[in-house]
Symmetry: C2
Subunit: 465 residues, 2 copies
């Protein structure tokens, strides 16, 4: 097998730089072209470092490339959701009843920089910045770029091209516009957009609110969240409708209205954000979209991976984790079929797509769960019961959240089917009075398992998924 094959990767974001590192480790000649400047040379000021939730599926990939300890040093554990009500009261809802299961806040920039550094340690990996891909000729396996410095356009040739260029992928656009094969494609926007804000550190560098949680201010139709950064700040994100409700992104146009909105809905957050108005009017409002498509590859020439194949909304904290898991799955397919790119690409899509479709749908579910259900009594009762089950029967029960986030040995689709059935079972048994808080937990576990199984079997007989 010819390991001297030239692999061209479009995009040196999280997925692209991890893939470059892994393919570098495997011995391929890897060239990566990134449209942005080198993130390692950009000054990221306090409170503006966008952070992400890093968890088990992502860590599987980080272990694969041998960086577990280096990445751990960048992580801030978040053990649960810290829910803030309208009056500033808080309560914590853990992500799991098992103490060793938690998610982590991590800086996108620092993680990306680490991956770039590690990739470049391989002589057979070269990364070029400020070079934007304009289109891909997927029949000739060539990509056209423009150099942002020189404004020159140039064409690169490769044995295979993998696009990890995100939700606005140039390769995906070439598939769509090329009309050389039937290309299924969807882009779905939520009615809500988002805007990043910040809680800066205290003067002594301390955190202004509890560090080890994902803070949520759920308000039914909208919400605010905050994740900690290593420098003592929090990155805060407002999720709000563009045009519905008394306050929305289209009508929050004055300082007075923004302050009035936060005073009414998020008074405790406002108290920590003297910089609110400045952030609000300086930072852009961005849309929230889901992208799905198929096929992900063209013959043995080109492949979409990460967000370019399956961009999702951020509400399950799984965007990066899913893209990292792509690399693990791709690597496993390479172990079996290396040298036969057509088989590698088609096998990878066949095993992987059902799972990325599932996490896309789960992320939409969680949008509604976070902004509304977290404040709903029956939902809170379900969470309490599930925490108790996970604590008492750590080997026997996992909630939907745990299945998705901490059970990296099963796929997203299996986690979704089982998790949704469990949720349905518990919510209905609570509503019907068939379960209650004083029941013996072993009995509860038995009932939940039985009813979950019934639900899955009924769906199967009805031909539903």
């Amino acid at each position: 097998m010819n390991k001297q094959q030239n692999v061209l990767i479009i995009g040196a974001g999280l997925c692209g730089s991890l893939l470059a590192l892994r393919l570098g480790q495997r011995g391929y000649n890897v060239s990566v072209y990134e449209m942005r400047q080198d993130i390692r040379k950009v000054d990221i000021s306090a409170g503006r470092s966008i952070n992400l939730a890093f968890s088990n599926r992502g860590n599987k990939a980080i272990k694969l490339v041998g960086l577990e300890h280096k990445v751990k040093a960048l992580c801030i554990p978040m053990y649960g959701r810290m829910i803030h009500d309208n009056h500033g009261n808080t309560f914590q809802s853990n992500y799991s009843g098992r103490d060793h299961e938690y998610i982590n806040s991590i800086s996108r920039g620092e993680l990306n920089a680490l991956l770039l550094d590690e990739a470049e340690k391989h002589k057979n990996v070269n990364i070029y910045f400020n070079k934007k891909c304009k289109s891909v000729d997927f029949e000739k396996t060539t990509a056209r770029f423009i150099d942002f410095n020189t404004k020159d356009e140039f064409i690169e040739d490769a044995d295979i091209i993998i696009a990890t260029d995100g939700a606005g992928s140039a390769l995906r656009k070439s598939y769509y516009l090329g009309k050389k094969f039937l290309f299924s494609f969807s882009q779905d926007y939520l009615t809500h957009g988002y805007k990043e804000l910040s809680i800066l550190p205290k003067e002594n560098g301390d955190y202004k609110t509890y560090k080890n949680a994902l803070h949520i201010w759920p308000r039914g139709d909208f919400m605010l969240i905050a994740l900690p950064n290593l420098d003592g700040s929090f990155t805060v994100t407002l999720f709000l409708s563009y045009d519905e409700g008394p306050y929305n992104f289209n009508n929050l146009t004055t300082e007075k209205m923004v302050l009035e909105f936060f005073q009414k809905e998020f008074p405790d957050a406002l108290a920590l954000m003297p910089n609110l108005v400045n952030d609000f009017f300086e930072n852009p409002t961005a849309p929230l979209g889901t992208v799905k498509c198929s096929p992900w590859h063209y013959k043995d020439n080109t492949l979409l991976m990460g967000d370019s194949a399956h961009a999702i909304v951020p509400f399950y904290g799984q965007g990066m984790n899913a893209s990292f898991e792509d690399v693990v799955e791709f690597d496993a397919v390479l172990d079996t079929h290396e040298g036969h790119w057509d088989t590698v690409f088609s096998t990878y899509e066949k095993t992987r797509k059902k799972d990325t479709d599932a996490i896309a749908d789960l992320a939409i579910d969680n949008f509604h769960e976070m902004k509304a259900h977290t404040a709903n009594p029956i939902f809170q009762e379900k969470r309490k019961l599930e925490m108790a089950l996970e604590k008492s029967f750590p080997d026997d029960y996992s909630s939907k959240y745990s299945l998705v986030t901490f059970n990296e040995h099963i796929g997203y689709r299996e986690a979704m089917l089982k998790g949704r059935a469990q949720d349905k079972a518990i919510l209905n048994m609570l509503a019907d009075g068939e379960l209650n808080a004083n029941d013996d937990l072993a009995t509860v576990l038995e009932k939940v398992k039985k009813e979950t199984q019934n639900i899955l079997e009924d769906d199967k007989i009805a031909g539903l998924k």
Copy 2:
């Protein structure tokens, strides 16, 4: 209110010509531009007249424009599915237990011609052919056309533009490429394509097989269907995977293979089709796709209607019916909000989109039902039970098929939710032995109603739709 407003309609297919007629009746100045030549001047030879299933929802629109009797004369009633097995055995499965409920085979060309004739009877309606829309400037409310005869390009201005230009809509493409607003969009292709074939009339003009049914040869992974035409022929359609299975569109490349495939799978159909090989290699293979999008309109300037907003696969026989129902719904919104186009467009989308999304999903369901489930014993038992319920309790029970097809007073979404819950209830009760063929029908009805209600309530509590 100024009724002298100029409405430009792009596309004079079934939806566009019906809309032109209705808006003409309402007094608008209507100009319709169609890319094809005038269908009334084209010779449609025997066996090539593509036919459609016309049913209650479509008839609602035909009644609205006063053409019920003229359309009835074009219809051939189909009372049920005539199922053909591999050995040429047949059995009929009716569409309803109520004798007055059936669907109709109708020629697309003849129905379209009638609507064009009727629209042109209005002095305020003008229809132009051979003029293809290239793009729409939805901010200026202008459309650019090319005249296929003169090759001239020209721009038309209007007060409002409504695009009824089908699955490949120019207006929808302008929305997508314009990037002036967040446009959610999906195109989803099935793995299967289709090819039209024909059963010609006997020499004396008689039908070669039973006239008043929709014939189906279900084979699990693929199927053949046939609908009657007024001239004694049947239009036959083969639905088959492009590349999966022992026989597929990609490998059926020789006369020998086509004959071998039909001899093995459809021997009784082959006996009626001496023209098979000729049809097979002369007629194109076409893809099957679903299109959804949102928003359907831009401010008070432009609107998508019919297939341009929601193209669906043909398996529920509802494509034309859904587009005709669009016109009924649009007309009802006009009754309330005429003169305020922005409100008309947004109200219309708000009330209508949930239903067209539902029929798109139902049509995919029916693809699987037709090619596979119709040959499945438990499914056949369900259908038998439902026919008995509809016959004995005509006012109290309607199957999913009846809810979708014959209950035009409820929307597709309501029909889908109730119909799917009923199917799930019956299939599970049959599988669990809770229902059986000897039960008293009144008891069966009670059980089915109760279990359907339970399923709907459980889904509601779990936050599912």
